[in-house]
Amino acid sequence: MKILMLDPLKCTGCRACEYACSFKHEGVFNPLDSRIKISTFLEDLSFVPSVCMQCEEAYCAEVCPTGALIKNAETDVVEFNKDKCIGCKQCVVACPWGSIKLEHTGKEIIKCDNCEGDPECVKVCAQQALTFEEVEDAVAAKQKGVAVKYKEIAKEMAKGVNP
């Protein structure tokens, strides 16, 4: 199972992902139509990407009265069926991430569908702040990263220097 990994430390805040996303789904360039969002904190000069996490316990799907949002166990994507949507916007309220959005006219629900397994946002992220990875690999890489730090401490300990 692959997931979208977001790394705020690598993000440079260029927002190319937003433009790629809106174009892929709507055929125009408009950050308001993008499923992914980069939040910029200018005072701290920090940039934080956010997008639908395809939750296991998807509140948006639970609250949807018409079954327009359904968690697909096979693809792991919370799928949105536009034809079933009545526009009640309860999914917008329910999503803890703010990742169920309204497109730029404020009329229709939009959400990330992982581009059916080939996310456009990942393709334009020159800094690799966005990656689409097997979840096991992502976890393993993180564990390894932490392990590298512990390894250095262990070396010191081996010398008899207790940190």
């Binding site: 805040g13 125009v28 139509d33 000069l45 730029h104 020159a126």
Partner: protein, 604 residues
């Protein structure tokens, strides 16, 4: 109705009476001059008498995007400020990165024409196409970063902002216009013109889409160009790692790094202020402007010494040089602090640094009486640098007021204008013409005064294969770079894309976005047309061949040390060649034939 990636509308705001009008983009002009810099200059020629005082209410300021702004084209978020410049009265186009350009486009306007003068300080709030002129009395006097924050608090947290700082308010001739709090349209004193109109800033937020004429072909060009930039050694490697300041060691190693007001062109302590050192000691993260795969922007923090805890954007190469080597300073923390202060006051770092260097030169040579200097002002004094920048920003005392007008006025005041390292009264940037011949020709002929980003011949002379010490071929080189840049600027794409891209790539992005058929040859022709258009404005403003000059230090005093020791710049022969290559007469006036060829005869 215009097609493609233009929004097709211009917003005209009269600050004197508060009138707001919406006008259609002129399709013929869009084809002839693209947008941004080119289109804005055409408006200036039609609507503004080139002979006016740039600080009078008759001057206009055009805040413009190009047709690639707001698209996924790489590094395509430039915003341009076009006006008659305050520093020298020439046609000025200063451009900036950040996110303001695309946001302006999303409000539905390609550009804003600002006219007249507000009775009291105001700022504009353009929200989804609606325009509000808001009181800015409470913002007047505030530094740029705070102004940006307050404007967003008062309008929308996601608004993108333009603002001037205290320097622009006080009409410092080296004042800039800042975007997103820390990005600058730095040169030519555009901030003074905005300040003269009592305009503190603009906040924009829109909800409209940008379309392109041929989506399939456009995206092909987008992915091809993004890919090239990611693989290029500079745009896909060094620039992200070390920022533009990676050039410190590169330029110093050829002996072309002006030092101590260009007394020399080699700085033995360059390593201490290099991009590599900046990365080691101060870099927090990289920052990218809109849609930029390069990410040369620096987010930095001062981690030790008396400025510990200060943080902000930059510095980039030119700032490190101007506030560093040019003043003989190798204390990187002081250079970074001076850079932050310039951003907060809203001053151009190149002009500010070079002006402090000029003051140090005047002081050491005894031309500036000791009592005129508020402190000892020797080359290499980092305290003198930081204190001078503060006094300039606040225009404190005679010293602060004098320095805020740039090095030319300062040096002229003390009877030695030759000590101003400038052309057309604008301070030249971080490449010494004695060591890199073509860039000197470029400084002398640049339509907005000495400048490296009108025609970056460095790409060929230092980073490429052209012989930097030869004069032959430099006229053609300068023309080619100037024409390409004029067209490229006008599309809204960043000049740094040319580290990997050539004319045909930009032409492909431009033509598939707009639907205007354009190959590389035509693109270069448009660039030449824009260059000549700017020249026509300057000729009408009274500029002649004698203004295409360099300081005597560059043409007469040989470099003292380093790899280019003994070199001087011989400008006159290159100038003759250049005018010929341009199809201008020996007085630098475009010939009738040239203007006819470019479709500019009616403007003569």
């Amino acid at each position: 109705m215009i097609n493609g990636s233009y929004q097709g509308k211009i917003l005209r705001v009269n600050l004197t009476n508060g009138d707001v009008k919406v006008e259609a983009i002129n399709e013929e002009w869009a084809k002839k001059y693209i947008g941004g810099r080119g289109y804005g200059t055409r408006i200036m020629l039609k609507e503004v008498d080139p002979n006016i005082d740039p600080l009078s209410k008759e001057n206009k300021v055009i805040i413009a995007t190009g047709p690639l702004d707001g698209t996924l084209a790489p590094s395509s978020g430039r915003v341009m400020v076009i006006t008659k410049g305050a520093l020298n009265g020439a046609i000025a186009c200063s451009n900036s990165g950040g996110h303001f350009g695309p946001a302006l486009k999303q409000t539905g306007y390609d550009m804003i024409i600002l006219e007249g003068k507000a009775k009291e300080p105001v700022y504009l709030w353009i929200n989804k196409g609606k325009v509000e002129i808001k009181c800015a009395k409470h913002l007047w006097g505030k530094p740029v970063d705070e102004t940006d924050k307050l404007m967003r608090e008062e309008t929308h947290p996601e608004a993108e902002t333009m603002a001037i700082g205290p320097a622009g308010e006080k009409i410092a001739l080296i004042a800039n216009v800042m975007f997103n709090g820390h990005r600058a349209a730095g040169r030519t004193g555009v901030g003074a013109v905005v300040g003269s109109k009592n305009l503190k800033g603009i906040a924009v937020r829109g909800n409209l889409s940008v379309n392109v004429a041929d989506p399939e072909k456009f995206m092909e060009a987008v992915y091809e160009t993004r890919d090239i930039l990611s693989k290029d050694a500079f745009s896909g490697g060094g620039a992200a790692l070390y920022g533009t300041a990676m050039l410190v060691n590169v330029i110093n190693s050829v002996g072309g790094f002006p030092t101590r007001n260009a007394h020399d062109a080699y700085f033995p302590e360059a390593e201490k202020i290099s991009g590599e050192t900046l990365r080691d000691k101060n870099l927090v993260r990289n920052e990218g402007c809109a849609e930029c795969p390069i990410g040369c922007g620096r987010v930095t923090e001062i981690k030790e010494g008396k400025y510990k805890g200060e943080h902000g954007g930059g510095p980039e190469y030119e700032s490190v040089w101007a506030l560093g080597a040019m003043c003989g300073i190798s204390d990187l923390n002081a250079v970074i602090m001076a850079n932050y202060l310039c951003d907060r006051y809203g001053m151009d770092t190149i002009s500010a640094g070079s002006t402090v260097a000029c003051a140090m030169d005047l002081y050491e040579s005894g031309f500036m009486p000791k009592e005129d200097a508020p402190f000892t002002l020797n080359f290499g004094s980092s305290d003198a640098l930081v204190e001078s920048i503060k006094r300039m920003g606040e225009q404190k005392g005679k010293f602060g007021k004098l320095l805020a007008q740039g090095s030319y006025r300062l040096a002229e005041h003390y009877g030695h204008p030759e000590l101003s390292m400038s052309a057309k009264k604008q301070e030249f940037p971080a490449y010494d013409p004695r060591a890199i011949k073509g860039i000197g020709l470029e400084y002398a002929t640049s339509n907005r005064g000495a400048c490296h980003v009108r025609g970056y011949t460095i790409a060929a002379e230092v980073l490429g294969t052209a012989d930097r010490l030869k004069y032959e071929g430099k006229a053609e080189l300068a023309k080619t770079f100037q024409d390409l840049t004029a067209a490229l600027d006008s599309t809204g794409i960043c000049l740094f894309t040319t580290f990997g891209l050539v004319g045909k790539h930009i032409a492909a992005l431009y033509s598939t976005a707009t639907g205007n058929e354009c190959d590389e040859k035509e693109f270069m022709k448009i660039g030449e047309r824009i260059w000549n258009l700017e020249k026509l404005f300057n000729l009408k403003a009274g500029f002649t061949r004698k203004d295409d000059a360099l300081p005597p230090r560059i043409t007469k005093e040989p470099i003292k040390t380093g790899p280019s020791k003994g070199e001087i710049e011989k400008l006159d022969k290159m100038l003759d060649d250049y005018y010929k290559v341009r199809g201008w007469n020996e007085k630098s006036v475009p010939t009738k034939e040239k203007l006819e060829e470019l479709g500019l005869s009616q403007l003569k």
